[in-house]
């Protein structure tokens, strides 16, 4: 065990390289989750599409809209058509399930790592905090895109396995892929919400609970908006208003809704950066929380000032 005598070789790492490298490690850490969620949802979506062949005859003439309470569960309009069936069975559950994943991931990425202590060695590296948050956001965004791409591929494959006799209306394979990928802004809204709440709340648990409440209210509030006038008036507040699988299948991506969701995510990301920039990491504070020095009646500090010697 001799003394180390190696000369130092200087190779400089740029900011972009640092972010890309961190992004790589973030994605690497999520790779099995991406594969698991991607394949799981792909099997689910593909199976439902294939099932339409068996159900189409049974659904002929069936009008679920006669039962208004079904609106509570989601958009079941045109359930007997291919677009309506796939929308109700795939494109209602897909964003909800992935929103759950992104909430888990979004709150886990800052708040979870902070609570486990894993953030401390990373935050002590020469990386600005905003870069850390942006990179975590990008990792989440790419992870969701990969999952959706796997699901989209499965929907296309499933579509081509349907016999020609099955009436899919105007829906083509590409429409299924587009409708799948079009859920990305809505899902990212919840992911960014989780990221922001993870940066803002003192604990992951409180962040995840709040994001889940927003998810539940956002989903059922939008469904009930057609039944309850009051909710109809504030429907614009519910994130699920901004995505409809059926409309996307039949009419393509709604650009306005997509932009609204992206703008909301951008605002939440900004808030996440500001919160994380401000907060005391590792101690579970609120971002803007700063303790005050206890002051005695005389106006001096509670603990007498110490004379630290050097």
């Amino acid at each position: 065990m001799g003394k180390i005598t190696v000369e130092k070789e200087v190779v400089t790492v740029t900011m972009e390289e640092k972010m890309l490298k961190l992004l790589y490690y973030e994605l690497r850490a999520r790779r099995w989750a991406m594969v698991g969620w991607g394949l799981g949802l792909a099997i689910f979506a593909g199976y439902v599409i294939i099932l339409f062949e068996d159900f189409s005859a049974q659904l002929s003439g069936f009008n679920i809209e006669d039962i208004a309470v079904y609106e509570f569960l989601g958009d079941f309009a045109d359930f007997s058509t291919f677009a309506g069936f796939v929308s109700a069975e795939v494109f209602i559950f897909l964003p909800v399930l992935l929103a759950v994943y992104t909430i888990i991931n979004g709150t886990g990425t800052l708040a979870g790592e902070e609570e486990s202590g894993r953030l401390e060695p990373i935050i002590a590296l020469p990386l600005p905090r905003w870069q850390l948050v942006i990179t975590k956001f990008l990792a989440l965004a790419v992870a969701i895109l990969v999952i959706l791409a796997i699901v989209a591929l499965a929907t296309v494959i499933a579509f081509y396995t349907l016999p020609d006799s099955v009436d899919t209306g105007s829906v083509e394979a590409a429409d299924l892929a587009i409708a799948t990928l079009a859920t990305w802004p809505l899902i990212m809204f919840f992911g960014t919400l989780g990221l922001f709440l993870g940066a803002f709340f003192p604990t992951r648990r409180s962040a995840a609970a709040t994001a889940t409440i927003v998810l539940v209210i956002g989903y059922f509030g939008n469904n009930l908006a057609g039944l309850i006038n009051f909710l109809g008036d504030i429907n614009f507040l519910f994130p699920f208003k901004y995505y409809s699988g059926r409309d996307t299948l039949l009419n393509g991506i709604n650009v306005e809704d997509t932009l609204i969701m992206l703008a909301a995510s951008a605002i939440l990301l900004t808030l996440a950066v500001l919160s994380f920039q401000r907060r005391n990491v590792t101690v579970g504070d609120w971002p803007w929380q700063r303790a005050r020095i206890p002051v005695s009646d005389e106006g001096s500090t509670e603990i007498p000032s110490g004379a630290a010697a050097d």
Partner: protein
Amino acid sequence: MSNNVIETQGLTVYYGKHRGIVDLDLKVNKGEVFGFLGPNGAGKTTTLRVLMDIIRPTKGKAKIFGLDCQKQGVKIRERVAYLPGELSLPPNMRGHQFLDMVDALRVERSDSKFRGELCERLNFDASRRIRDYSSGNKQKLGLVASLMGRSELLVLDEATIGLDPLVQQTVLQIIDETRQEGRTIFFCSHILSEVQSVCDRVGIIRDGRLIKVESVDTLTAQPFHRLRMRFEVMPEPGIFVLDGVRELERADNTLVLEVQQNLSTVMELAAPYKILGLETEPITLEEVFLAFYGKNNRRKRSSHGDNGGENA
């Protein structure tokens, strides 16, 4: 230009109503190993976290290389390596992957040969998954991560915790070599022996306050022993009431004494009771600290302000 690598002025951190550190004035010189000592909860980690801009001070200023820790944190961290005291690492990564990641996020890539030599010296296998490492191996990984960049300043919090004695010695040797290269080490610990062996100066922190900054020579010049003696016949209480002798423990024919003075008298008094076993035990910093400053000093500080134990 100031020779101070680290400088804090009136640094104060509160967590709600709880005290972190209070009015900490500290200077660490370039090229020295500065030991930052104190019992658990004294405020060591809080100080380090403020220096690394992980938490923000309630009051006061902290500078490293003359740069403000809050406003120029990134610039500072480009030149500093930090080993947290409670090291937590991503369990699914392999050791070398974690090192690659840390390397990639630093401004300058480390020398792979140097990194390999560090692993070899610490007897560390970087190819395994972190979840499979023992706590000692995780600590080794943290050490390699903080040492491999050859930063100008190393901030090490309990660097040898969980390591076996041989590796502890190697770590202390590496720290000594680091000093010889002219780099600075801020070395947090509560183990006196390792502080004695590597540090030039020490700062003692208690209850969030820096009590004293002292050269190690002065600190170690204090005669101080802790004796664990097992007797055939237990000596009666009070027999060792001597200046500089304190009875710490008495049970099952075993007596533990803290001895600063009158060691030979203690041995003479003990001999008639037939000593069956005699051990000297490692002394924690807290014990030295208490021996130095004692409860009276503490009371004095509370009522009149701290004189830093100048008479100790």
